[in-house]
């Protein structure tokens, strides 16, 4: 249980000597499993640092293929990989840095029918998606599966970071946003634009929050980090409410598989938009 191959000491030595890390921390990471939903602007940097840190099993769910317009922010993908699955392209990039990684490549669309099955094998879920229906679906699934959801979002020059469903009293996404925003208030990356270094900063911190949770270094206080690359100061930390007793997901004993598979998340969020992933 508490041992590592000799060359892991060399590879991970710089982090193993940190306070609160050590050999036991590295062993925890080796036995941990994490799933990243979407290998896009947030998923690429998150995956990169999860892989480099030596997480034992990494799942990547993404049914999209690499496009030229992705490469300004989705830094694991290569010009050569344009046209291939993002999940495969990302896995290849991780293996270049760390060939020993175990990676589950899932080139399917996350949907109410398969979400629980796809996400169940992992300790922590990273929401690196780009649309509201999938954000509600991931939150509902994380509640049913009782797993923390490390959620990032980015648009234009701004980003947000929050860990949902963490610990016994952490809120879920529905605790904070019980009702989806009206469809007409929603833009897409295509309409709004996004800078790569902004998704990079948030995705990076998603990896960091994940590692903190796995190592037991997370303070579990519900908070939202707001980032505005042009703001002064650029960061603001918000103290969030705890789990809500009236939440239709995390405080509802009937919430479960059937309530997820009976929900049309796209309809719930106001209907289809041409560039949503689902």
């Amino acid at each position: 249980m508490c041992s590592l191959p000799l060359q892991d000491y060399q590879r991970y030595g710089r982090q193993m000597i940190l306070d609160g890390f050590g050999l036991s921390g590295q062993v925890k990471l080796k036995h941990a499993s994490v799933v990243v939903v979407d290998a896009g602007g947030l998923g690429c940097p998150a995956l990169q640092y999860l892989g480099a840190a030596g997480i034992g099993l990494i799942g990547i769910i993404d049914h999209d293929r690499v496009e030229l317009s992705n490469l300004q922010r989705q830094i694991l993908h290569t010009t050569e990989s344009v046209g291939s699955y993002k999940a495969e392209s990302a896995a290849q990039a991780l293996k270049r840095n760390n060939p020993d990684l175990n990676i589950d490549i899932m080139t399917v669309a996350l949907a109410p029918e398969n979400a629980l099955e796809l996400l169940r094998p992992y300790d922590i879920i990273l929401d690196c998606t780009d649309n509201i229906p999938t954000r509600y679906l991931l939150s509902d699934a994380a509640v049913v599966l009782e797993k923390p959801l490390v959620s990032g979002a980015a648009q234009k020059y701004e980003g947000q970071l929050c860990v949902y469903n963490l610990g016994p009293t952490g809120p879920c996404y529905r605790c904070i946003f019980p009702t989806p925003q009206p469809r007409e208030t929603v833009g897409s990356c295509e309409e709004l634009g996004i800078l790569g270094a902004v998704t990079g900063t948030i995705g990076n911190m998603q990896a960091l929050e994940t590692i903190k949770i796995l190592l037991g270094l997370h303070d579990q206080k519900p908070s939202l980090l707001m980032y505005s690359a042009l703001g002064s100061p650029p960061f603001r930390s918000i103290k969030l409410r705890a789990r809500k007793p009236t939440c239709s997901a995390c405080s509802n004993p009937d919430h479960g598989l059937s309530s997820i598979s009976n929900t049309d998340y796209v309809q719930f969020c106001g209907g289809v938009s041409p560039d949503w992933v689902i």
């Binding site: 979407d38 990032g152 979002a153 648009q155 009206p182």
Partner: protein, 116 residues
């Protein structure tokens, strides 16, 4: 009439509804109509309350908003997807719209982001 000085900030794109200005300093009366009407006539006739966040939101709609109301409000509160923060704390922990504003309070309105 005594007034309170408040700081308002916007994030997540909401500033676009407010002249694309991220930060405002405003002063509002410490006593306001209980029905949140912000027109200045006939204040004397109204039942009054201490200035709260509900009134602030109505004031912003009536006097600061540049664009369509439905992008900021729904019924008598902010629309879904907007988080209100009072001095860097989720307004749910402070009583939401009923929170009585204090001199120098900072109220932040952010729209949740969803891109990735």
């Amino acid at each position: 009439m005594s007034t309170l000085n408040l700081k308002i900030e916007f994030g997540g794109g909401l500033e676009l509804l407010f002249s694309n200005q991220r930060s405002y300093q405003i002063a509002l009366p410490s006593l306001v109509p209980k029905d949140n009407s912000t027109a200045e006539e006939s204040l004397a006739m109204k039942e009054m309350k201490a200035l709260d966040v509900d009134y602030l939101i109505h004031h912003m709609r009536d006097h600061m908003l540049q664009e369509r109301v439905e992008l900021f409000m729904e019924k008598d509160t902010v629309r879904p997807g907007i988080l209100v923060l009072i001095n860097d704390t989720d307004w749910e922990l402070e009583g939401e719209g009923d929170y009585k504003l204090q001199e120098g309070d900072e109220v932040v309105f952010i729209s949740t982001l969803h891109g990735g």
